[in-house]
Amino acid sequence: EPEVTQTPSHQVTQMGQEVILRCVPISNHLYFYWYRQILGQKVEFLVSFYNNEISEKSEIFDDQFSVERPDGSNFTLKIRSTKLEDSAMYFCASRLAGGTYEQYFGPGTRLTVT
């Protein structure tokens, strides 16, 4: 069964550094998402991406964040200058076009900012 994959599984970075989290969505999916979950808190929506552009974003997704689909398979989340409070689990998800809204999630990348 096709799966969403994410790399790396764990990333440790120093405050102020740039990080890129990578995701490979399911191949025939057209909508892509990033969520984050700070330890002990709820899963929060960051951004959705369709047709090579951001379709929706939350208040969390400020100028420090960007997303890109650099080729036909990868979907990346970049944090330009990481802060301590960016430490979280970041989940990528994808779904088919159409009205079902069912999203398929990757295993997550745990980002630790020191």
């Binding site: 808190q41 079902t100 069912e102 999630f105 295993p107």
Partner: protein, 109 residues
């Protein structure tokens, strides 16, 4: 504020006990509701979903949920839990990108 809320944060049950986890949504319009499960160390997996039609939906592993529009609820149920059901359960509404805060279920053997 519009959201999805889960009131049980941590539930501890013995094997064979019945389970009901609460989920309430607070928005109008089209309702598309989901329950996901996250087993320890694994990623989120879909348990079941509701879009329309029969308000009682059946999912994998013996789980079911009932959509009650008058109560704005979509509670998850299982008649008899197993130790392997120990996990965190999330209610979500993806047409609005709302996630509940999750309920940690611990089933004692």
């Amino acid at each position: 504020a519009q959201s999805v809320s889960q009131h049980n944060h941590h539930v501890i049950l013995s094997e064979a006990a019945s389970l009901e986890l609460g989920c309430n949504y607070s928005y109008g319009g089209t309702v598309n509701l989901f329950w996901y499960v996250q087993y320890p160390g694994q990623h989120l997996q879909l348990l079941l979903k509701y879009f329309s039609g029969d308000p009682l939906v059946k999912g994998i592993k013996g789980f079911e949920a009932e959509f009650i529009k008058s109560k704005f609820s979509f509670n998850l149920r299982k008649p008899s839990v197993q130790w392997s059901d120990t996990a965190e359960y999330f209610c979500a509404a993806f047409n609005k990108f709302y996630f509940g805060s999750g309920t940690k279920l611990n089933v004692k053997p």
